[in-house]
Symmetry: C2
Subunit: 355 residues, 2 copies
DNA sequence: CTGAAAGCGCTTACAG
DNA sequence: CTGAAAGCGCTTACAG
C-alpha cells in the first residue's frame, strides 16, 4: 500500500503548478521548477562545499524549495547514505521533571543544528533493547543520548552500541570516555558547606539507590565534604528516588539519636517524602530539622515550607550532550564532557541558622 | 558519507557467516541464508496473506531473521511505500506528569502493535510547525497523536494535517470528529457530588486557562453539577495549570465572603499552589477549607495534608488514542472516542465532613 | 565544474 | 502461486 498521506504541503503561491496537488514535493520538483538538475538542488540544499554555482542560482533554488514547501524524505536520505538528522534521547523516567529539563535543553540545541530528537522512556523492566532496536537498528536515528544507563543495562554490553555515536548523560559509565556530566559531587559539597556555614554539625543525607551512578556520586560527594569538615559521615540512608523512597530513608535518619539537625535529599521527590516523614513524627521544618534538596524545580517553592535547594545546570547538560554526539557524528572521537556551571544554592524557608 | 554506524547486529550463533561483520543485516541476507528470494522473506515477515508457503519454510525464515538479528530499515520500508510503523505524540508540557501517564499508555499499546511512538514537546511559542514538519513531512511517522491542540494552534488550520491520520487526545477540537477524550465533565461532577455528600454547600473551583479546552470542559462540568444541586456557581477563579496559577486563583477565591468551604482544583500543580495560598492566609486544610484535586499522582499522597483526588484513566486514554490512529491507518474513517472508565474519587486527608 | 547514473534496502504490482 | 523487476526519493562518486 502506498502511504498516500505522507505527503508534503503544496504552497500554491505564484507560479507553482507543475505537479498534481496533494503529492509529496520531491527534489525533482524543485529542480524542474528551477530548470536545473536534482544534483544541483541536493548539493545547494545540503551546502555541499565542492559545488560551484552562481549565488544567484543558489538563492533561486533555496527560494523555490521554500515556496514549494520541499522537505527531504528522511527515509530516502538515510537510505542514500546521508544522515537521518535525528537523535534519540533515552530517559529512565518520564515522570521525573529533571529529565524534562534535560530534554528541553537537548531539543533546543538539536534544533539549532537542524536535528530532531526523539524521546523514549527506557525503563529497566520494559524492553529497553527493543526501544534501542526500534530506533537505531531501524535506521531512524544517527546517534543516541543515553540518560538511562544502569551498570547492568543490557544496552551497555551490546556490541551494537559500539557502532553508533552515543553519550551517557547524567549517568556516568566509568571508563566509557563518553560521559556528559555535571559536577554532582560539587553539588553535595555545596549543600554541606552551606549547612555547615549555618552552624549545622549533624548533617544527614537521604541518598539514592546504590546501583545508580548519580546517586553514588552524590553520596560520595556528601561523605567527602562532611569528612573534610570533621563532621560525622555515617548519617546516610538510601531509598528510591521517589516520595516513598525519601520518606522511608528519612524515617531511618529520624530514628537516630541525637537527631540530625539537617537533611540533604538527593531528589525533590525524596525531599517531599522526607518532609512527610518529618511531619509524621511531629517534628517541624526548619525548627527541628533543616531540609535541603538537590533539584531546583517550581514545586520546591510551593512546598510547606518552601525548600532550599541546589540548582543544577540541567538545560546546559542536555545541550552539551547534543553537542557531544554531534561532534562524534562529525568524526571526532568520543570524549568526556564536564559541565562547568557550578551548582547554586537557592535559599528558601526550609533551612535555619543554628545559634 | 555512508552512515556505516547504522548497522544491525550480527548474532554469530551457529552457521551464520555469509556476510562481513559490522554490516547491516539486509533482507537479501536473510533470503540467501534460507535459500529463498527477498520477496518471500518480505512477505513472510510482513504476514502477507496472499502468500502461500509451507509452514515449515515460514518458520525457517522467521528463525533466520531472528538469528541474524534482521530488522527492516525504516527508511527503506517507508520509501517503498509501506508504513514507517512510527507514531508521533505531541504533548504541550513535558513537565506535566499527566502527560507522562498518557504517554506510557500510548507507548505500551503502540508496542503491542509493533509501532514506536516518538514523543515531542509542542510548546505554543516554540516552532510547533517545525516539529510537525520534521516528523510528518520528512516521512518519519505514519500518524499523529496531538495532545497539544489549542484552538489557535497553527497545526489545526494547516491543510497538511488533513492528509495524515491523526487524533486529538485530551484536547478536544470540536467538530473534528477525531477526539479521544475522557469524561472530563463527569470528573468535575464526581468531585462536586462527593463534596456535596460531605455536607459542603459553598464549593469553589480553581479552573484553568479559558483557551484550553480541557479547562473549559472541566469548568462547565463543575458549574453544571453545582447548579443541579442548587449551589452557588459563581465561585470560580481561573489561573494557569501551574503551582503559581493555582496559588493566584485560590487567592481570589479565599477573598470571598463567606469563605468557600471546599476548593476543587483543575490540576495537581494548581492544588499545590492552592495549598500554599491557604496556608499563607493562616487557614488550615481541611479544618477551614477542604481541597480536592483532579489528577491522582503519587505526589498527592505526600502533600500536607495528603490530597483527596479524582483519578482519571490516563493510561487508557493514551492506549485508546493509539488504537484510534491505528484504525485510521487501517482505512477506517476518523471517529470520536470516549473513554468510558468513570473517574474515581481517592479519598485522603484534605477533605472533611461538615456537620 | 556539473550532470547522468548507480545504488541505498525495501515492497508490491505484474508477468510467468 | 512465486520470482524478477521496477520504483520509492534521495546522495554522491564518477565520467565527461
Amino acid at each position: 500500500m502506498k502511504t498516500g498521506f505522507l505527503v508534503g504541503s503544496v504552497v500554491r503561491g505564484g507560479t507553482v503548478d507543475d505537479r498534481a496537488s496533494g503529492e509529496r514535493v520531491r527534489l525533482v520538483d524543485v529542480a524542474r521548477h528551477c530548470g536545473v538538475t536534482k544534483s544541483v538542488v541536493s548539493r545547494v540544499l545540503n551546502d555541499d562545499p565542492s559545488l560551484n554555482v552562481r549565488p544567484e542560482t543558489r538563492q533561486r533554488i533555496r527560494a523555490a524549495a521554500l515556496e514549494l514547501g520541499y522537505r527531504a524524505h528522511a527515509g530516502a536520505r538515510a537510505l542514500a547514505g546521508a544522515e537521518t538528522r535525528a537523535l534519540a534521547l533515552l530517559i529512565p523516567d518520564l515522570a521525573n521533571p529533571v529529565y524534562s529539563r534535560i530534554t528541553r535543553g537537548a531539543y533546543r540545541r538539536a534544533r539549532e543544528h537542524g536535528y530532531v530528537v526523539l524521546l523514549a522512556e527506557d525503563t529497566a523492566d520494559d524492553g529497553a533493547d527493543e526501544a534501542f532496536a526500534d530506533l537505531v537498528e531501524a535506521g531512524r536515528v544517527d546517534g543516541l543520548l543515553i540518560a538511562s544507563a544502569r551498570p547492568d543495562h543490557r544496552l551497555l554490553s551490546s556490541a551494537r552500541l559500539a557502532r553508533i555515536p552515543h553519550v551517557f548523560v547524567n549517568r556516568e559509565v566509568p571508563g566509557s570516555g563518553r560521559n556528559v556530566a555535571m559536577e554532582l559531587a560539587a553539588a553535595s559539597a555545596a549543600a554541606v558547606e552551606y549547612l555547615h556555614g549555618m552552624g549545622h554539625r549533624r548533617i544527614a543525607m537521604v541518598s539514592g539507590p546504590p546501583d545508580l551512578r548519580p546517586a553514588v556520586v552524590r553520596e560520595r560527594g556528601f561523605v567527602d565534604a562532611v569528612q573534610a569538615l570533621g563532621l560525622p559521615s555515617d548519617l546516610v540512608a538510601r531509598g528510591g528516588f521517589s516520595e516513598e523512597g525519601g520518606a522511608a530513608a528519612a524515617g531511618l535518619l529520624l530514628d537516630r539519636d541525637p537527631l540530625p539537625t539537617a537533611v540533604y535529599c538527593s531528589t525533590l521527590g525524596q525531599a517531599v517524602g522526607a518532609l512527610h516523614a518529618i511531619r509524621t513524627r511531629g517534628l517541624r521544618v526548619p525548627a527541628d530539622v533543616s531540609v535541603v534538596t538537590y533539584d531546583d524545580l517550581p514545586l520546591a517553592d510551593y512546598l510547606d515550607p518552601p525548600l532550599t535547594s541546589v540548582a543544577m545546570p540541567l538545560l546546559e547538560l542536555g545541550a552539551a550532550a547534543v553537542d557531544a554526539v554531534l561532534k562524534q557524528l562529525g568524526g571526532a572521537p568520543p570524549a568526556d564532557v564536564a559541565i562547568r556551571v557550578p551548582p547554586a544554592i537557592v535559599e528558601r524557608a526550609s533551612t535555619r541558622r543554628l545559634d
